[in-house]
Amino acid sequence: MIAAFCREIVAALGAIWTDKGARSTMLGATLFFSAFFPQPYLNEVVRDLPVAVIDQDGSTLSRELVRRIDAADAVAVARYAPDMPSARSLFLKREVHGIVVIPPRFERDLLAGRAAPIASFSDGGYFLLNSSMSSALSNAARSLGAEVQIGRLAASGVDMAEAMAIVEPLRVTTIPLFNPAGGYASFVLPAVFVLILQQTLLMGIGNLKAGRRPGAALSTLADAIVYVGLYSLWAGVVLVWLPWVYRLPRIGDVAVMYAVVVPFLAAVTAMGIAVARLIPTKEGVIFFLVVLGMPLFFLSGVSWPAEAMPGLLHAIAFVIPSTTAVPALVRVNQMGADIRSVETTIFVQLGLCLAYSLLAVLVERAKGRPAA
């Protein structure tokens, strides 16, 4: 029995190596995608977003404000424009991605203690450009405003501590956790990596199993164990080693990670075998998985919060292992969650594994009956 099982294990390993499609998805594609997907995001944050300034005041304080805007990491003052039409045309040509207007009498109003508003036009079509620009601008405006205010109060004879207490009576400190720099790669890649594991594993199984007669129960079990084992190694590479290579924050406990990864891979393997029995051709399986990748990413709730999705849709998406595994693994790896915080996910994955195994068996029964 044990010897037969060992032979099946060796046969399963051999099958992956000899089948060209399986070899290239389960060995090549995993590594390739993990190197390729991160490329656009590797610079992490928006730096030196070019903006145009229309300085209608031309005073010392307006120049000081421009200097502070330029000093922000996210933004760089690239052009001075004489008026709005010319700034707009620079914007349309994508030479600048924002416009700042400092109206005449800016300095005079500010020094007289009146509100001295400025106007900013950011790029509404691109969320990240828009938010980088608006935060850089409000920081510059706030710091300059507070300084001028404190200066005015101090000039009128208020002592420094009291002036600060009037200008800012309550300090509000905002601390971003887990991804302190707000890096885009740190945000997206941990989720993408989990999805790459799922999709390449499903494709590999599709390559090996679709359109073929299923083997005996023992050999299918041996195959499943080999897939889970192989991908457990990949999980180490993709979820532990690659984040280190790309300098992504990762504070999780590897043991807790594997407590989620192994049930997850088991669920994916069971799903892969069931799908391969449902869709009869290799091409069909691969095509189905290629186009499904992106919708699955959005369903995982990492880039788009699950709270913003209709409840029914999120409930249906539960049948895909990544929907719950992606957030759980992100919580473990990037946020340092302990096993208690992810135990629900572990049970969900085990349940899915069971359900898909059952489905695979039932599909086979249903197919076998008419022939018999």
Partner: protein, 399 residues
């Protein structure tokens, strides 16, 4: 005249042969229109609620004063967030963050109210989960704004107490107000953009894959590509005849999705419809040529599909819709330029959203057209090489 009729007949023969192939494969018919439209519906449902409301956050109120309770009430009243839990300690708050039950924790330390009144400038801390950047930054902006308002209120009171009138005190709180407006998208309807950008990216996969399947199938078939070439007469007619059914189907899907977006879903269309149709057509053709070229480079159907998958499925990150192109590394910018969808989305933004004059869009349109020609050229070249009669079939053809 007779020659032209012959060539048109070649196109028709290949077209009919391709239609028969499609007709014999229900799976292929499904991926022509129903499946992409189904995915569009799925994505539309994912995004249809718009930006999330009432994101759950936790509060650790160690002060329990009038001021602290007022802060909690005001935070809860903000539309983006809801105070879902009151944690007793910061450790408890942290656990709520880790289990995903709260996106942020607001810590109001002991004696906050007393310190405010004594002018000791106490510190309220907002911890937010920036690993989940979309909800995290929403929550941070919203809660930060509310706490800023509270602080501003106190500041106004302090100034009034020192003898200032209310109006000048209010002005003094924000000496440099920033009037922010987002050009071309004043209401920041980000969701429609995301959907409008995701759909063509998904379609690019479908379009490329269908063209790849069509050519790879011929290549693997017994008769090989030679048969299709003989049916069509010329390389160009053969390619056109083979791809025409898919061009038509996917154009209809592309425009159908747009019709839904600009019709019932209420997105604004501010550009030229004719130009929109033109770059839509070139986008479909360029994606088809990309798929055809991939199929002719790859050895078999599965590798052809895999090649399209490798090129088209990571495309979304490269298009610069989420993470901007100007912040990408050189390789990513170069790679993005090779993808039809990058230029298509840029043209869409220019035309529909910005209503940019035509000459602004010419470079991007030129790039898209260039890609169609280059990939088309590669596909024709490979088709010519693979379809050349081999010695054996040359004899056969000579008979």
């Amino acid at each position: 005249m007779a020659r032209r009729a012959h060539l048109a007949a070649g196109f028709r023969r290949v077209l009919l042969a391709e239609l028969r192939q499609i007709g014999a494969r229900p799976g292929l018919m499904f991926m022509l229109a129903p499946f992409p439209l189904l995915l569009f519906a799925l994505l539309a449902v994912v995004f249809h609620l718009g930006l999330p409301r009432d994101l759950p956050i936790a509060v650790v109120d160690l002060d329990r004063s009038t001021l602290s309770r007022q802060m909690v009430r005001m935070v809860d009243a903000a539309p983006d967030v809801a105070v879902a839990r009151e944690a007793g300690t910061l450790a408890e708050g942290r656990q709520l963050l880790l289990s995903g039950k709260a996106y942020a924790v607001v810590l109001i330390p002991v004696r906050t109210e007393r310190d405010v009144l004594a002018g000791r400038r106490p510190e309220v801390v907002l911890f937010y989960n920036n690993q989940y950047m979309t909800p995290g930054s929403l929550v941070a902006r919203s809660v930060g704004g509310v706490l800023g308002t509270v602080a501003a209120g106190i500041s106004v009171e302090a100034r009034v107490a020192r003898g200032a009138d209310v109006e000048s005190a209010t002005q003094a709180v924000t000496p440099v107000p920033v009037r922010q407006s987002a050009l071309f998208n004043p209401s920041l309807e980000y969701v429609q953009f995301l959907l409008a950008a995701v759909m063509p990216t998904v379609l690019q996969i479908f379009i490329g894959a269908s063209a790849a399947l069509s050519f790879a199938r011929d290549r693997q078939g017994v008769a090989g590509l030679g048969r299709s070439l003989r049916l069509g007469g010329t390389l160009f007619r053969t390619t056109a005849g083979k791809l025409a059914p898919y061009t038509l189907a996917y154009l209809l899907v592309l425009w159908g999705a747009d019709a839904l977006l600009f019709g019932p879903m209420g997105a604004r269309f501010g550009g030229s419809l004719a130009f929109h149709a033109a770059y839509g057509l070139v986008f479909v053709l360029a994606s088809q040529m990309l798929g055809a070229a991939a199929a002719l480079v790859a050895r078999d159907t599965v590798s052809a599909l895999a090649a399209v998958g490798v090129i088209a499925s990571p495309a979304f990150g490269f298009t610069g819709i989420t993470f901007p192109r100007l912040s990408m590394n050189g390789f990513s910018r170069f790679w993005a330029d090779l993808l039809p969808v990058t230029h298509y989305l840029e043209l869409r933004t220019d035309n529909i959203l910005r209503g940019a004059p035509l000459e602004t869009s010419l470079p991007a349109f030129g790039c898209l057209l260039g890609l169609a020609l280059i990939y088309g050229g590669v596909a024709l070249l490979l088709l010519w090489r693979h379809g050349r009669p081999r010695p054996v079939s040359a004899v056969e053809a000579g008979r």
